[in-house]
Amino acid sequence: MTQHLILRVVSKLLIPFLFLFALYVQFHGDFGPGGGFQAGVIVAAAFVLYGLIFGLKAVQRVVPPAALEIAVPLGVLIYAGVGVVNWFLGGNFLEYGTIDSHDPAHGNHLGILLVEAGVLCTVASTMLLIFYTFAGRGR
């Protein structure tokens, strides 16, 4: 797609703000609407937009499929790993407060942040991987 000048310029302008919005949704999830799932789909949508305008090869240079195949299970591993860490720190599975023994409230925030990061990782990479496999089939 080398000829769609307007689409290329507009999407180049938009994509950084899409990522910024995704990060806002991710890290502001404690205070406003949003969280890992919403941020994950926005990240995936931004990459899909890039892939639509600049081609599958260009987006696969940015995020190689092999990296995604690692990221999909990594997210679940982060989530479950937080729970296992809580076990070893003497709490229940996913009892985030144990992460910071001096200040359980801080541990709680940190735990939720980590867990949401795991959700983001799995959701974004799964959506993108499905897009790659679908888009790669036609050729």
Binding site: N108, T122, T133
Partner: protein, 184 residues
């Protein structure tokens, strides 16, 4: 005012649905289904479910429209004419729709106070979210903290779905490749 907005959105939604049924060109159907998702997202935001609205806009209107388009790339753009009579599928669809509408009669009115969800756990979450978890957004504290196990399960479901799609779509291609190797 809210009633008016909902009425207009729902009218749009039914118009788009009828158009999807009527249109034979599959490209138009994909575009219309994207429109449907956008209207649905607006409707969800009007109902104060911003999280769900965001997800619907990004997944329903964004990513799945792209996936449908890339699926369309592999087939013809026009729907094939039906080989059998449409009466039985139509009767089945009407029956399912009617039973769903019948099911909604038992649901509490939207936003009603005296419902199990608002009487029982909802109040407890609202009261205890900040003392328990210090997270001001109750949706996040319920999802990540009170119902952390469920969200872990959800993430695992997405993981499993991704693996499943990959195995279905990619496994066959590898088999084709092996077949070619054997021939040569």
């Amino acid at each position: 005012m809210e009633f008016l907005i909902n009425l207009v959105l729902l009218l749009f939604l039914s118009a788009v649905t009828i158009a999807i049924i009527g249109v034979r060109n599959l490209f138009a159907v994909v575009v219309l289904s994207g429109t449907y998702s956008f209207i649905m997202a607006t409707l969800l935001i009007a109902m104060d479910a911003v999280d769900v609205g965001m997800t619907e806009a990004a997944v329903g209107a964004g990513v799945s429209t792209v996936l449908l388009l890339s699926a369309l790339h592999l087939t013809k753009t026009d729907e094939a004419p039906a080989k059998h009579s449409n009466v039985l599928p139509m009767a089945l669809a009407l029956l399912t729709g009617a039973s769903l509408v019948y099911g909604t009669w038992d649901l509490p009115r939207y936003g009603a106070e005296e419902t199990p969800m608002n009487d029982y756990v909802g109040d407890i979450y609202l009261e205890r979210s900040i003392p328990d978890t210090t997270v001001p957004n109750v949706v996040t504290s319920v999802l990540a903290s009170y119902r952390g196990y469920d969200t872990l399960g959800e993430t695992t479901v997405i993981f499993t779905a991704g693996i499943g799609v990959l195995m279905l779509l990619r496994g066959r291609r590898r088999k084709d490749g092996e077949g070619e190797d054997q021939k040569s």
